[in-house]
């Protein structure tokens, strides 16, 4: 049994225009101590998938349409709401993209960290303070004894993100969900924060679900990668396999569209033409078919299949891809 098992998860949002299926049949496995990168572009459903693990998707307008999320074998979606606080912040902690808005502006850092410790370990004020100071030091905040009395607005973005990480890790979670934790940070601060997450993960043996759109961060942090497109996982596999020989044309296209180090200056970058299909009324066939470079190279009869059948995730090369005609060794 894996630590986290997601099976055929579907989440919709009721909008004026109808039901938007933001996550549409996502399955994932995450083992203890491993890091899984959930990658994709805006609106692909990666953040909704991540928040659903803690049942943080606001309802309404959000709605669980089906599937299971099992954590240590317990179906989270079936738990009564009263049981949720036992999981949130204890067994599973989450770090969000925007440290500016995820701390409460009217309380000091001490108060916010202390509250977590009181709830989780029943520590009194003094013990909580000592533990908080220690943890702030661990995440690299200078002069933690002074900084602990600060309000969030007195700290820089990088410092706030460290406080969030301290808060998440103080609980010694088994699973850490990091939703774009470094996107709002500068590169040198990002490097510090990534090192920190990795060091603490190794020390505590936690599993990490890392949501990002940055392929560089994925390559650096993750053991496994799942690529999402239009509410579905289109490719999943070992990080080395995916970066070496991506089998889904979308993954391949994404990786090729990055400017390469030492690449020809101002040379035309490969692009993915077209736009993501509407999730209000997604096509019943492959959702990437419209934009697919590989499909365009196929004989007419094969192309028909792309426009009629919905591909399922199946072994392709060294990974799994939801594609009727995986890339193989073909180049873009």
């Amino acid at each position: 049994m894996a630590l986290l098992e997601i099976d055929d998860l579907a989440i919709g949002f009721q909008t004026e225009a109808g039901l938007l299926r933001a996550v549409d049949g996502v399955s994932l496995r995450l083992e203890k101590g491993r890091t899984l990168g959930l990658v994709g572009e805006s609106g692909c459903g990666k953040s909704v998938t991540a928040s659903s693990i803690l049942r943080l998707v606001p309802s309404p307008p959000g709605k669980y349409l089906g599937g299971q999320i099992r954590f240590n074998g317990v179906d989270i979606l079936a738990l009564p709401a009263s049981e949720l606080p036992k999981i949130r912040g204890k067994d599973i902690a989450m770090i969000f993209q925007d440290p500016m808005t995820s701390l409460n502006p009217v309380f000091t850092i001490e108060k916010q960290l202390g509250e977590v410790l009181a709830l989780r370990f029943g520590l009194d004020k003094h013990a909580a303070r000592a533990r908080s100071v220690e943890m702030l030091g661990t995440v690299g905040i200078p002069e933690p004894e002074q900084r602990i009395g600060a309000y969030p607005h007195e700290l820089s973005g990088g410092m706030k993100q460290r406080v969030m990480i301290a808060m998440a890790l103080m609980c010694e979670p088994q699973l850490l969900i990091a939703d774009e934790p470094t996107t709002a940070l500068d590169v040198t601060v990002q490097a510090q924060v990534l090192n920190l997450i990795r060091a603490l993960q190794q020390r505590m043996g936690a599993a990490v679900l890392f949501i990002t759109h940055d392929m560089g961060v994925v390559a650096e942090m993750c053991d496994e990668v799942a690529v999402m497109y239009a509410g579905r996982i289109v490719e999943q596999g070992n990080v080395f396999a995916i970066f070496k020989d991506a089998q889904h044309p979308y993954t391949k296209g994404l990786l090729r569209s990055l400017p390469r180090k030492g690449g020809a200056k101002k040379a035309e970058l490969p692009t993915i033409e077209g736009v993501v299909p509407s999730l209000l009324n997604p096509p019943a066939h492959c959702r990437f078919a419209d934009r697919c470079w590989k499909r365009k190279r196929l004989p007419e009869t094969d192309q028909k299949r792309c426009f009629s059948e919905d591909p399922k995730l199946r072994p392709a090369g060294e990974s799994f891809a939801a594609c009727h005609f995986p890339v193989g060794g073909e180049q873009l």
Partner: protein
């Protein structure tokens, strides 16, 4: 690089913002946002301006366009001083210098149609009759990869990438010679980012445009820039041909910055240790080299005086010299 005088000359430009405090809001200090910056840009060339949040790169861009009044220094555009230009002169100069902004969601007026947005500069500058203007807008939209029929639509009907195309079309309406692009692709998804970069490169070749490309993303800057300037705490610490700066970074900060970028290749790990600490406040910058408190090569002499920009050890002495502001550049 074209012969003759450069298109834009920036000389010892400074921009300070007063900091007020106390009962009578007396001036208690200055934010040294831009601290003596000098560089040139030739026609048809791209200068990449790189640095982290708060280094002054956006203020520098805004001061060149005189959206901010410079504190001192000169900005010469085709020999005319932008900083001391009268209102009528400035009106002329602004035709030739246009801007593209980061956020395609907030930089377009939601109450105006795309046609009106792109036509507005033509109207303000009284270029031709209304019919001619509309014809030109149609052509511009097609140039940037949109269609003429989109004229009557509103920004909210467009995706992020399409909006940024509208921003590019608006910037081109007056046939400028220099476009200052402040983080033009930072808010865009990877696949869309490469489309906008391709568009900018194509337009540069077709129209001999010069760009000042402001970004924190080094891989994008490396791809698009001929020259590159690295800023830290209001100063340029290194400047030179882009390939040169990337191949032989001569300032310790440049090295750290290049080393901090996660590489989209799991077989290669980040090369350097992350930078300790955070950038000092531009209100009270440290004496001497602004980088010395965080620099692993710093010696006593680094605290004594601000190091001048001097030829880097590998400077080949071409039309674009490679300069670095570090007294130990020959030793590191």
């Amino acid at each position: 690089m074209s012969a003759g005088a450069p298109l834009l000359v920036v000389e010892d430009l400074k921009k300070y913002y007063p900091v007020r405090g106390g009962v009578f809001a007396a001036k208690v200090g200055d934010v040294h946002a831009v601290e003596g910056v000098t560089f040139t840009v030739a026609a048809g060339e791209t200068l990449g301006l790189v640095g982290e949040s708060g280094c002054g790169k956006s203020t520098l861009g805004r001061t060149i366009m005189r959206l901010e009044e410079p504190t001192s220094g000169r900005v010469l555009f085709e020999g005319k001083d932008v900083a001391y230009a009268s209102k009528t002169e400035l009106f002329q100069i602004r035709r030739d210098i246009q801007a593209i902004f980061q956020d395609p969601y907030s930089s377009l007026n939601p109450r105006m149609t795309v046609g009106e947005i792109v036509r507005e500069p033509l109207e303000v500058h009284g270029m031709g009759t209304k019919a001619e203007q509309i014809e030109k807008v149609r052509a511009l939209l097609e140039t940037v990869g949109l269609t003429g029929e989109m004229l009557d639509r509103y920004p909210h009907e467009f995706s992020g990438g399409q909006r940024q195309r509208v921003g590019v079309a608006r910037a081109l309406a007056l046939d400028p010679k220099l476009v200052i692009a402040d983080e033009p692709v930072s808010a865009l998804d990877v696949s869309v980012r490469s489309q906008i970069l391709n568009l900018m490169v194509r337009l540069q070749k077709e129209r001999n445009l010069a760009y000042i490309f402001i970004s924190h993303d080094l891989s994008v800057v490396e791809h698009i820039s001929d020259s590159i300037a690295i800023m830290y705490l209001g100063r340029i610490v290194e400047i030179g041909p882009a390939d040169e700066v990337f191949a032989n970074p001569s300032h310790p900060y440049t090295r750290v910055l290049i080393g901090a970028i996660p590489v989209a290749d799991p077989t290669r790990k980040r090369s350097s240790e992350p930078l300790p600490g955070e950038a000092p406040s531009p209100i009270s910058p440290p004496p001497g080299c602004p980088f010395h408190p965080r620099c692993s090569f710093a010696i006593d002499a680094c605290r004594a005086a601000v190091p001048p920009l001097e030829p880097a050890p590998t400077n080949a002495g071409g039309a674009r010299p490679h300069l670095a502001a570090c007294i130990r550049k020959h030793e590191i």
